[in-house]
């Protein structure tokens, strides 16, 4: 079975500006895939490449097993698109917009039924130029739903929507997913992604996060734990912890030791420390949430600086709990 989306070494330069650098990404058929990153990370550039709005400098993009450049027309026949930074045709009505999408795809959908689904059927015969931002977003979503596409590509779908609208958007995405569609959507808002995605990838400054390629929100990364210990650090203790099962990294700074672990080895760490002669003053654990992964990846430089600056508990580490003894 072909992947719904497959990016291989995708690179795009605009003159001197590097928009994407060697991006690899695989989205499987049928999943809801969240594409996360701060503004300007290159999310839209990636999506524009999938739709052949722009051509990669090097690397390749495949959608539904087809080449994004050579077979673009076939891809767009089978894809529903909600682009970023689009503009509607001010003088055409909502119904005419949807009808245009229906005619373009050669399907026999009912424009009014689609507008009903996105909640703007009552404005069907008004000019889209008079629509609010949220209504335009709903209108273009209705256009994307035309023809029950195999894959939905949504660029910042919740833009311009109020919380209620964003919830309805998520509901629609779930419905489409249940129908069997693959959903690939980008967002800079964590909650949007966390709420519905099966898997997530984080893009920052044109590069994929090294820690989260194709790892889902509900799969290993989310169960990673940070254990924080306030302790005097005896000679050799760090090395002894590092070789323990499940330990991914150890950081000691002043009297704070931060250990990143998979499941179940917390007490082993304490044992090692205490048997090495350390006095443990305080101990806390925290799950690494998507938010932390996002923060870790997108604010890397600052984080390094603060951890070097001997701060016993720096807030950029994002451990929420710290229990005093």
């Amino acid at each position: 079975m072909a992947s719904a989306i497959e990016l291989t070494g995708l690179t795009k330069h605009f003159g001197e500006v590097v928009a994407l650098e060697d991006v690899d990404l695989t989205v499987e058929e049928g999943e809801i895939f969240g594409f996360l990153g701060p503004n300007g990370a290159g999310k839209s550039t990636t999506i524009d490449t999938l739709l052949d709005f722009i051509r990669p400098t090097s690397g390749s993009a495949r959608v539904l097993g087809l080449d994004a450049q050579r077979d673009s027309l076939e891809i767009r026949r089978r894809t529903g698109v909600l682009p970023d930074a689009y503009q509607v045709y001010d003088r055409l009505t909502g119904r005419q917009h949807v009808q245009f999408a229906i005619d373009s795809k050669g399907t026999d959908d009912d424009p009014l039924a689609l507008l009903e689904r996105v909640g703007i059927a009552d404005a069907a015969d008004r000019r889209a130029g008079g629509y609010s931002k949220g209504m335009r977003q709903r209108l273009v979503l209705a256009m994307a739903l035309v023809g029950a596409p195999e894959i939905l590509i949504l660029d910042e779908p919740s833009t311009g929507l109020d919380p209620n609208g964003a919830r309805e958007m998520r509901q629609l995405i779930r419905e489409e997913s249940e129908r069997g569609a693959t959903v690939f959507f980008s967002s800079h808002i964590l909650e949007q992604v966390e709420a519905i995605c099966d898997r997530v990838a984080i893009l920052n400054k044109g590069r994929m996060s090294p820690s989260t390629p194709s790892r889902g929100c509900a799969t290993p990364p989310a169960r990673r734990r940070n254990s924080r210990l306030e302790s005097t650090v005896p000679e050799g203790a760090i090395e002894a912890i590092e070789v323990l099962d499940g330990v991914q990294s150890v950081n000691a700074s002043g009297t704070t030791v931060i250990v990143r672990i998979e499941d179940g080895s917390k007490t082993a760490i304490l044992d090692v420390l205490e048997s090495a002669g350390a006095e443990v003053l305080d101990f806390s654990t925290a799950e690494t949430s998507l938010e932390e992964l996002f923060a870790q990846f997108t604010t890397e430089p600052q984080r390094n600086r603060t951890s070097e600056a001997d701060a016993p508990a720096s807030e950029t580490e994002a451990e929420p709990a710290e229990v005093a003894r």
């Binding site: 767009r76 509607v88 003088r91 055409l92 999408a101």
Partner: protein, 277 residues
């Protein structure tokens, strides 16, 4: 091939634009004014008998200018505007090739201009009948057909310019520049070329009105409007071959017209097809 879908969308969009209605009204007034002048003020022409051919000949030059200016207004934003505003992302997110987009634009916008021109031509019939102008349906239809071709050519020309850039400002600049050169400043080109070819000496007969060499005449006939007027003359007189060499004939003017439509359109399309949107 979904160009027809794009054309229909474009026509639907444009026909609701106020500038189109203004354009139509302007053309209607212009057509009726000129027809009225021809029919009721004999002094404006030397025609002994008022006829359809006479009316058309009288009308062709103002129509040519109107079509040139109006097609610029209608077309300069057609492709560049969609690329700039982001509606192009909506358009190309749907399964259209960029060729479909360009072709659809040419057809859609040509219809936008063809409708008011046809309305004007039909409205003029009233004056033709009231003013006792000899009416020839065949001449009328032929004139209408050549004029439609001319509309299509100028629209393709400006859509081509619009497709060659993603900035409406640049599209506007290029379009106005092209219009000024082709419609207002072209006279200096054949004369200048003649002057240069004559070794930078004013050729004898340049100002005395003596016949210019054939190749200078060809240059003078080159702009779309001149080619259109030459074609109209040929069609209405029923003589397409003329007396001079083949490249001065009326049928060749039709070829020149077609070239004005096709070449800029192809160049614009090729640039658009390569562009990052």
């Amino acid at each position: 091939m979904t160009w027809a879908v794009v054309a229909r969308k474009d026509f639907n969009d444009a026909r609701r634009s106020r500038s189109l209605w203004g354009l139509s009204a302007a053309f209607l007034v212009l057509a009726l004014l000129f027809a009225g002048l021809y029919a009721f003020v004999p002094e404006v022409t030397a025609d002994e008998e008022m006829s359809t051919v006479g009316l058309m000949t009288f009308l062709a030059a103002p129509i040519a200018l109107f079509v040139a200016v109006a097609s610029l207004v209608v077309a300069y934003k057609s492709v560049a505007g969609e690329a700039e505003s982001g509606s192009g992302k909506l358009l190309l997110g749907l399964p259209h090739t960029r060729r479909d987009v360009v072709l659809g634009k040419v057809v859609g916008r040509s219809l936008v201009l063809a409708v008011p021109v046809l309305v004007g031509l039909v409205a003029m019939l009233a004056i033709v009948f009231v003013g006792e102008v000899t009416f020839s349906a065949a001449d009328y239809v032929l004139f209408g057909l050549v004029t439609m071709l001319f509309v299509l050519v100028y629209m393709a020309f400006f859509v081509g310019i619009s497709a060659s850039t993603t900035s409406t400002a640049r599209a506007a600049t290029l379009s106005v520049l092209a219009l000024v050169i082709l419609e207002f400043a072209w006279d200096v080109v054949p004369i200048g070329a003649w002057f240069v070819a004559n070794g930078f000496v004013v050729p004898p007969g340049l100002f005395s009105g003596a016949a210019m060499p054939d190749w200078v005449a060809f240059l003078a006939n080159m702009p779309p409007s001149s080619a259109y007027l030459n074609s109209v003359g040929g069609v209405l007189t029923g003589s397409m071959s003329g007396a001079g060499p083949w490249y001065l004939s009326q049928w060749f003017s039709l070829v020149v017209l077609a070239v004005w439509g096709i070449v800029p359109l192809v160049v614009g399309y090729l640039r658009y097809n390569r562009a990052d949107l």
